[in-house]
């Protein structure tokens, strides 16, 4: 009997774990992306005049949220590119002319503010192209929201299901102790006095289920992390969050929810029996 409760709580929490890891990873990616792309790149035409350059600088400075404006020559850009390419940099040695444009790197406080900046700069003379990454981030955020909402719905449903399972399990214990409860009521026991041991039982089920699922989720994720982190990085240029960094969050969340489900389940199961 207890097995059903513990298993159902564990199952709910494991699914919760998957959703949590997903949400945390996406949050991680979003934050990373925001940090990485807190800049707007303004590519300049090769024949831009000094006057036009000053206009670009002045315009950028006048826009709120702009932190700094750095000029990057084509030579610097190539140098950076070589660094980025690392071992493959020799491929760049053979270039006859430098194909990269001169550019301004404009750092902004928040990518949300960048739109304004981009609109006012891209039409200026001498500006070839303005690049920023708002689209990517917007898409990521929408995606994260879907996961979050979907996850919440799934979890809410599962929490209800497991409260129901727990309350039915405890109902069996309760009805086997019906006589005792009945006598307690006649002697003047308060409902909370009678509930106490059953709530403890439910909470113990919940905590036990939580511990099991913490182990499973942690080790499963560690395994995944050890085997997939590199390939994940190669595909998406982001690292997964490390298992250690989520362990304490997961533990706290699981133990709380597990205990909560257990307590709710036992309170529900006693409702009928306390009306003597």
């Amino acid at each position: 009997m207890g097995l059903a409760s513990v298993t159902s709580i564990s199952a709910v929490l494991m699914i919760l774990g998957i959703v949590l890891v997903l949400i945390l990873s996406i949050n991680n990616v979003v934050n990373d992306t925001k940090l990485k792309f807190d800049e707007v790149e303004v590519f300049l035409e090769d024949d831009i005049t000094d006057f036009q350059m000053t206009t670009v600088e002045e315009t950028a400075k006048s826009i709120p949220g702009v932190i700094s404006i750095i000029y990057r020559s084509k030579e610097q850009a190539l140098e950076l590119m070589k660094q980025d390419w690392g071992e493959d940099a020799y491929l760049l040695e053979d270039l006859e002319t430098n194909p990269l444009p001169n550019s301004y790197i404009i750092k902004v406080q928040d990518l949300e503010l960048a739109e304004n900046l981009v609109n006012s700069i891209k039409t200026l003379d001498g500006v070839e192209e303005v690049k920023y990454y708002k689209d990517i981030i917007d898409r990521l955020l929408t995606f994260a929201n879907y996961i979050r909402i979907g996850g919440m719905i799934i979890i809410a449903v599962l929490v209800f299901v497991s409260i129901f399972i727990i309350s039915n399990t405890i109902k069996l214990t309760v009805s086997s102790r019906k006589r005792e409860i009945n006598i307690m009521k006649y002697v003047g026991a308060t409902n909370s006095y009678i509930r106490g041991p059953f709530i403890i039982e439910g909470v113990l089920f919940g905590l036990f289920g939580a511990v099991i699922s913490i182990f499973i989720v942690y080790y499963a994720y560690s395994y995944l992390y050890a085997n997939m982190n590199e390939s994940f990085y190669n595909m998406f240029t982001f690292y997964l969050i490390s298992p250690e960094s989520i362990l304490s969050d997961i533990a706290i969340i699981f133990l709380t929810i597990g205990a909560g489900i257990g307590a709710m389940g036992s309170i529900l199961s006693l409702k009928k029996f306390l009306n003597v």
């Binding site: 009521k185 002697v187 003047g188 409902n191």
Partner: protein
């Protein structure tokens, strides 16, 4: 101590189990509640214990109106009323001592009080030697004495017994009556529902007779009557 004023009880299925009951039981009285099966004796007791709600009328305990009380107050009303049932209602997995101590634990008595009080009450019902026995090792009379001990261990001002001798042979029943009388002599008000004609006739206590949910007779030092 206990006062019923125009009390009626209609069960949800439409059965009118009590009709316009008026009675007053004073502190220290010993009262028999008699009547044929289905007359409404148990229903009257259930109203007192707040196990069933009252349809019409008013009910007072110790001067307090307990006609309608919120659920959370019911346990505190029951602590003023010791109860004994025909079927003893002991916990089979607890010893005699534990069955009695249990009633004190429930109301939050200290372990010291429990250690002092339980043996004294077991002495009163003459069960000191059986303290560590389990209910299934006891005779019916002994089991009923345990349940009486449990009902008075918290010193309630009123003891209510619903056919406490119903499952016992006449001789054992007499033992139980002696215990109840002794408890009454110590000042506890006793209300006992019963079918036992001989007991009622021999004791010459106040008798309230119910018939079809109405009080048909209420006499001091009465007998069981012949109408059954």
């Amino acid at each position: 101590m206990i006062r019923f004023v125009n009390v009626s009880k209609e069960y949800k299925n439409g059965v009118i189990a009590l009709y316009d009951i008026n009675m007053e039981i004073n502190k220290g009285e010993f009262v028999f509640l008699v009547g044929s099966s289905g007359a409404g004796k148990s229903t009257l007791i259930k109203l007192l214990l707040k196990e069933e709600g009252i349809t019409r009328g008013k009910l007072y305990l110790n001067g307090t109106d307990i006609t309608r009380v919120p659920n959370r107050r019911i346990p505190f009303i029951r602590r003023k009323l010791g109860v004994v049932f025909q079927d003893f209602r002991l916990l089979p997995n607890k010893t005699v001592y534990e069955n009695v101590a249990f009633a004190m634990e429930i109301i939050g008595a200290s372990p010291r009080e429990i250690r002092r009080r339980v043996p004294a009450v077991l002495g009163m019902v003459d069960l000191s030697r059986k303290a560590s026995s389990y209910p299934d090792q006891l005779s019916g009379g002994e089991q009923q004495r345990v349940s009486i001990a449990r009902s008075i261990v918290n010193n309630p001002p009123v003891l209510i017994a619903d056919e406490p001798t119903g499952n016992l042979d006449p001789e054992t029943a007499n033992e139980i009556m002696k215990v109840l009388v002794e408890i009454n002599n110590r000042g506890t008000t006793v209300l006992m529902a019963t079918h036992a004609k001989e007991i009622v006739d021999s004791m010459r206590k106040r008798v309230i007779a119910l018939e079809n949910g109405r009080i048909v007779r209420d006499e001091e030092k009465g007998g069981y009557g012949i109408e059954i």
